[in-house]
């Protein structure tokens, strides 16, 4: 006999068919007759697509188009006798990444803060290391027009992300502001930039900017593309952040006000941490989009990853290698986009501790 006191402590085991591999199969693949048919149909389609693809990739494809051009794909026309600087930079960043994996898992708060500072500051020395100094024999100057390939793609994407973030947050706050002028300016900026294609912004940065600036001031095309990317992305980011701001209940503002926090403290400690956390998925989506959109700079004459891979197709030995080159390009873009996506999932999980 079961008495009332037992009820809270005694549990029956679930049926065998509900748990483990068997349970998983039953619930996900063979829940009903239709499910079972769909499962076999999917397997069949996978088979007829995958088998020829793999056969092509292994036996027919001419991957030498890629392997002989690895250096060009990585850094474009960056001088080959100087490209140890590119590889050193990559090695340093990879090393930092590996160290981070351990540091951010440790409980040492001081160490984590130092690591974050290293990440924030490191782009500056790396930049100078790659750009070099006029008249230096160890690190001779490499003109910005010689930066290309994945190197250029990453410079544009990283600068675009890092610079558009604070601008976008400020624009979002501006649009929410009680001060009419700030509100109008932010709104106008956001709507105008969102109303034009990215290509237009890039053309404006390339063509219009020199018209406005004095004749003897010449800004390298790469800089103009960097600024264009950041300013364009900022407008979209602002709208994403604004969505997050609207999700914060009024009570949070009131509690912060009642405690006597200043407007800045209220934003910094209470509102933005919560608002940004809720918009991590759309923000990462936007950053992935930005990373891929950098391929548009080819149109204004920059030699980014996609552009240099197209140049392979005009090399005598690889005239018909479109398939190999574009599949490889897609794979590279996919790997980095997927890495960003995976990193953001991790971030969401880490930040989600104790969330209501």
């Amino acid at each position: 006999m079961t008495t009332a006191t037992d009820v809270s402590t005694v549990y029956e085991a679930p049926p065998r068919t509900e748990i483990g591999v068997l349970g998983w199969l039953k619930h996900n693949l063979f829940g009903s007759w239709i499910d079972a048919i769909l499962t076999f149909l999917s397997l069949f389609i996978l088979y007829i697509v995958l088998v020829p693809s793999v056969r092509w990739a292994v036996t027919e494809a001419n991957w030498r188009a890629i392997t002989t051009n690895v250096l060009i794909l990585i850094h474009g026309p960056y001088p080959q006798d100087q490209d140890w600087r590119v590889f050193t930079s990559i090695a340093v960043i990879v090393l930092m990444g590996i160290i981070s994996l351990f540091v951010y898992r440790s409980s040492n708060k001081k160490l984590r803060q130092i690591m974050t500072i290293v990440w924030v500051v490191s782009p500056i020395p790396i930049w100078y290391f790659l750009a070099g100094f006029a008249g230096s024999s160890l690190l001779p100057q490499v003109e910005y027009s010689k930066w290309g390939g994945l190197l250029l793609t990453f410079v544009l994407a990283i600068f675009g992300i890092v610079a558009s973030f604070p601008i976008g947050v400020l624009l979002a706050l501006g649009r929410q502001s009680n001060m009419p002028i700030i509100k109008w300016i932010s709104t106008l900026y956001i709507e105008v930039v969102r109303g034009v294609p990215f290509i237009t912004v890039l053309f404006m940065a390339q063509v219009m900017l020199p018209l406005v600036l004095p004749a003897d001031v010449r800004i390298p095309g790469m800089f103009r593309a960097m600024v264009g990317t950041a300013l364009f992305s900022a407008a979209y980011l602002a709208e994403n952040v604004r969505g997050g701001l609207q999700a914060i209940p009024r009570g949070q503002y009131e509690a912060a006000d009642a405690l006597g926090l200043s407007t800045f403290q209220q934003m910094y400690f209470i509102i933005l941490p919560q608002a940004l956390r809720t918009v991590i998925p759309p923000l990462v989506g936007q950053f992935i989009g930005l990373f891929k959109d950098t391929s548009l700079v080819a149109i204004v004459g920059l030699l980014d990853f996609l552009k240099v891979s197209q140049s392979i197709l005009s090399q005598a030995g690889f005239l018909g290698a479109q398939k190999e080159v574009y599949i490889f390009d897609a794979l590279i873009y996919f790997i980095f986009s997927f890495a960003m996506s995976a990193a953001s999932l991790r971030l969401e999980k880490n930040l989600g501790v104790g969330q209501r």
Binding site: G251, Q252, A255, D257, A258, L259, S262, Q355
Partner: protein
């Protein structure tokens, strides 16, 4: 302004668009007084206590707190808010911060205390509201009653002169109301100046020095709890009491 009163309101009026929520409130509070504000919903009682720390802006009349006038001068507003703690119906804890961080944030950044001092104060207050073991949890991991007690500790951490309670038990399950009321009653006994909007008649009868009855944006009647409950003078008060004390 006289020294005797810690809060003095004269002819406070407030409109939401065309609707007049407060129609001229005259109200004085002495240091250490415990005041309970009663009234039907929509009577303006919540709006009124929210004007005292400028969560709502009054559009006519004067409000003086601790000898400082509450006007558009942001320094005055900041100064007054430092002296007034507030507890909300929905707790309004910061969900992304631990209980301890919720409590220490304002003392560290507004009062400019160092961290050890703020944390010591926070732990002392958590002892007082009887949940020191929850210090490192997040608000979402606590029950409603525990969250509200954290909210009280958070307000007290600023060492305010005055505490405002805006229906602090209305969002709680019945079995949790008692634990919050006990904390409030203890607080009242320490000599804290308290203004509470609440429907808890037990609290009003035990610790209130004065009951203030609001209706239609006006103070209809003000009296000691004894007189108020046993001998209400105004028709509207009688009607209200008959509805809640059936």
């Amino acid at each position: 302004m006289s020294e005797e009163y810690i809060i003095e309101c004269r002819g406070v009026k407030k409109w939401y668009g065309e609707f007049q929520a407060l129609k001229g409130i005259d109200f004085k509070v002495k240091k250490g007084e415990v005041i309970v504000i009663l009234g039907p919903s929509g009577s303006g009682k919540s709006t009124f206590i929210r004007t005292i720390n400028r969560l709502e802006e009054h559009q006519a009349g004067e409000i003086w707190v601790n000898g400082i006038e509450l006007n558009n001068d942001v320094r005055n507003i900041a100064e007054i808010r430092k002296e007034i703690g507030m507890v909300f119906q929905q707790f309004n804890l910061f969900p992304h911060l631990t209980v301890l961080d919720n409590i220490t944030l304002a003392p560290i950044w507004v009062r400019k205390w160092d961290k050890p001092k703020a944390e010591a104060k926070a732990m002392e207050l958590l002892e007082r509201v009887k949940i020191p073991e929850q210090a490192n949890k997040y608000p979402g991991q606590l029950s409603g009653g525990q969250q509200q007690r954290v909210a009280i500790a958070r307000a007290l951490a600023m060492e305010p002169e005055i505490m405002l309670f805006d229906e602090p038990t209305s969002a709680l399950d019945p079995e949790m109301i008692k634990e919050v009321l006990e904390v409030m009653i203890d607080l009242a006994k320490t000599g804290m100046t308290i203004i509470a909007v609440t429907h808890e008649m037990g609290f009003a009868k035990t610790v209130a020095d004065r009951i203030v009855f609001f209706d239609y944006g006006l103070i209809v009647e003000e009296n000691t709890p004894n007189e108020f409950f046993s001998n209400p003078k105004h028709e509207r008060t009688k009607l209200f009491l008959s509805q809640i004390l059936h």
